[in-house]
C-alpha cells in the first residue's frame, strides 16, 4: 500500500484528509485511483488534456517523478508519494 500526502490547499477536495493510502503498482495507476475516489481533485492535478499540471510536482520518496520514470514509475509497497503544489503566500493578486 502506498501513502499519498495531500498538501493543505488540496485537502478540501479529499474530505480534509492529509494522507490517503491506496494499492497501486505505478504512479499513474495511483493517480487514476486517487481521482476516481475524489473526482473534485482531478482538475487541480491534471489539465484538460489529462497532463499533470506544471505547477504541481509529484515525488516518490524524495525524488521528483520527472527524474524517475514519470507516471510509469513503479511503486514499492511502503512508498510515500508527495503532491507539492506551487504556493506564493501572502495577500491576494
Amino acid at each position: 500500500m502506498a501513502t499519498i500526502t495531500i498538501p493543505t490547499p488540496l485537502r478540501k477536495y479529499v474530505e480534509g484528509r492529509d494522507n490517503i493510502i491506496l494499492e497501486a503498482a505505478t504512479v499513474g495507476e495511483l493517480l487514476s485511483k486517487l481521482v476516481e475516489n475524489y473526482p473534485d481533485l482531478g482538475q487541480h492535478l491534471f489539465s484538460a488534456e489529462g497532463k499533470l499540471r506544471s505547477f504541481v510536482n509529484l515525488y516518490v520518496g524524495d525524488e521528483d517523478i520527472r527524474y524517475l520514470q514519470g507516471e510509469a514509475t513503479p511503486l514499492r509497497s511502503d512508498e510515500v508519494i508527495s503532491i507539492i503544489p506551487a504556493i506564493a503566500g501572502g495577500t491576494a493578486r
Binding site: P9, S54, F55, P85, A88, G89, G90
Partner: protein
C-alpha cells in the same frame, strides 16, 4: 582593508558570533562586507530583516510598496502599532536602525517590476525572496538568474511552508526548474482568502535568514538542490531533492529567456476592467440604498462559515461558500435580482462569472466586498 576591520564596538556587539570558530573574526568581517536585497518586508521579510540586521550584514536593501496595516501585525513583527499607516520600508528601517545602528540600510519604496528589478538587484551580493505573489516570484527568479546571484526562497500557506536556495551559478536549480509555470489566477487561494498562522513565516523566514548568513560567510552546507518542507500542524520537516532542468527556459543549457518579461501577463493576470460600465457590479453605497427598497435584492454571501462568524452584512439572504456553489446551484432562483459578496470582492467575482455561465443574468458582485461595506456604509461591521 580598514573598512572591513571590526571596531571595538562591533567586537562587543558580535562577540557571541566571534567566539564560534566556524564564524570567528573572518566570518563576521565577511558579513560586514556583504550586502543583501530583501524583496518584501511582510511576513517572511520581518524575521529576515530583524535577524540579518542583528547579524551585522553590512548593507541591507529593503523593497516594498505597501503600508503597515493593523491586520499585518499578527505576523509582521518588524512593524509595530506605532507605525501603522507608515510605509513598510520606513517602518522596518526605524526598527532595524534601533536594533543595529552599525549597518547601512537603504529603502526602496517601490513595487519591484521588470523595469527596475535588474537595477535594484545589481549592487547586492544576495537576493532574498520574501514576496507574496506569483508574478513577483517569477520576476525575482529570472532577474537573479540573469544577474548570476543566489536567490534565497521561502513561501507559506496556512500551516505549511517551503524554503530553498536557488543558485544556478553553483549548479543548483532555479524556481522555473521547480515550477515551469504558475497556476492560473483563482485556482490556488491566497493567504488573504486562506489565512496564515502568524508564527509560520517566522519559522520559514528564519530558515531563509540562516541560509543567507551561511552563503555569505561560506560556512555549512547550503540548502541548494533541496526543498525544505515544514508542516506546523504535524510539526514535521521533510526534504525533497531538486534538480536543475537542462531545458529550463531561463537557467538551462540553451536559455530562451534572456531579458525580463511581462510577469502579470505570464501569470494570466489581466488589468481590472472599468468598474463604472459593468452591469454585473454594484458598490456598497448603491447596495445600501437598494436594501431599503421594498423590492430588495437577494443577498448571497459566498464566504466560509468561520468568516460569517467574524462579520456579516445585515440582511444577508443565504450563505453558500464559493467552492460549494457549482453543486448547490439548485438552491438559487435565477429569476431573482441577486447581489453576491465575499471579503474583498475576489471570490464573489468568480461566483458571478460561474452563475452567469449557468444562465443567471441578474447577478451583481459587491465591489470591494465586506471590507468596503465597512468603509463606506457601516463601520460597525468588523474588517478582518
Amino acid at each position: 582593508m580598514s573598512s572591513s576591520a571590526l571596531s571595538n564596538e562591533e567586537i562587543r556587539r558580535y562577540s557571541r558570533h566571534l567566539i564560534m570558530p566556524e564564524m570567528g573574526m573572518a566570518g563576521q568581517r565577511r558579513l560586514k562586507q556583504s550586502s543583501v536585497l530583501l524583496i518584501g518586508t511582510g511576513g517572511l521579510g520581518s524575521p529576515l530583516a530583524l535577524y540579518l540586521a542583528a547579524a551585522g550584514i553590512g548593507h541591507i536593501g529593503l523593497v516594498d510598496f505597501d503600508l503597515v496595516d493593523e491586520s499585518n501585525l499578527q505576523r509582521q513583527i518588524v512593524h509595530g502599532t506605532a507605525t501603522i499607516g507608515l510605509s513598510k520600508t520606513e517602518s522596518a528601517k526605524r526598527r532595524l536602525q534601533d536594533l543595529n545602528p552599525l549597518i547601512e540600510l537603504t529603502s526602496y519604496e517601490t513595487q519591484i517590476s521588470s523595469a527596475n528589478a535588474l537595477d535594484l538587484m545589481r549592487p547586492f551580493d544576495l537576493i532574498v525572496d520574501g514576496t507574496d505573489n506569483f508574478p513577483t516570484r517569477y520576476l525575482t527568479n529570472d532577474a537573479s538568474v540573469l544577474l548570476g546571484k543566489p536567490n534565497v526562497y521561502g513561501s507559506i500557506f496556512r500551516f505549511e511552508g517551503q524554503a530553498t536556495v536557488f543558485s544556478p551559478r553553483d549548479g543548483g536549480p532555479c524556481y522555473r526548474c521547480l515550477y515551469p509555470e504558475p497556476p492560473p489566477p483563482g485556482l490556488v487561494p491566497s493567504c488573504a482568502e486562506g489565512g496564515v498562522l502568524g508564527v509560520l513565516p517566522g519559522v520559514i523566514g528564519t530558515i531563509q535568514a540562516t541560509e543567507a548568513i551561511k552563503l555569505l560567510t561560506g560556512i555549512g552546507e547550503p540548502l541548494i538542490g533541496r526543498l525544505m518542507l515544514y508542516d506546523a500542524l504535524s510539526m514535521r520537516f521533510r526534504e525533497l531533492r531538486l534538480r536543475r532542468n537542462p531545458n529550463c527556459p531561463v537557467c538551462g543549457d540553451h536559455p530562451t529567456i534572456r531579458e525580463l518579461i511581462d510577469y502579470d501577463q505570464f501569470c494570466g493576470i489581466t488589468p481590472p476592467v472599468n468598474v463604472m460600465s459593468n452591469q454585473y457590479e454594484i458598490t456598497p453605497t448603491e447596495l445600501a440604498a437598494e436594501l431599503k427598497n421594498t423590492q430588495r435584492p437577494f443577498l448571497l454571501d459566498v464566504r466560509n462559515p468561520y468568516e460569517v462568524e467574524i462579520a456579516t452584512i445585515p440582511g444577508t439572504s443565504k450563505v453558500i461558500p464559493v467552492d460549494q456553489l457549482p453543486e448547490r446551484l439548485g438552491e438559487l432562483d435565477s429569476a431573482l435580482d441577486m447581489v453576491i459578496y465575499c471579503r474583498s470582492g475576489a471570490r464573489s467575482g468568480r461566483a458571478v462569472e460561474l452563475l452567469k455561465s449557468a444562465g443567471f443574468h441578474k447577478v451583481r458582485n459587491l465591489v470591494g466586498g465586506i471590507l468596503r461595506w465597512s468603509d463606506d456604509v457601516d463601520p460597525s461591521v468588523a474588517k478582518y
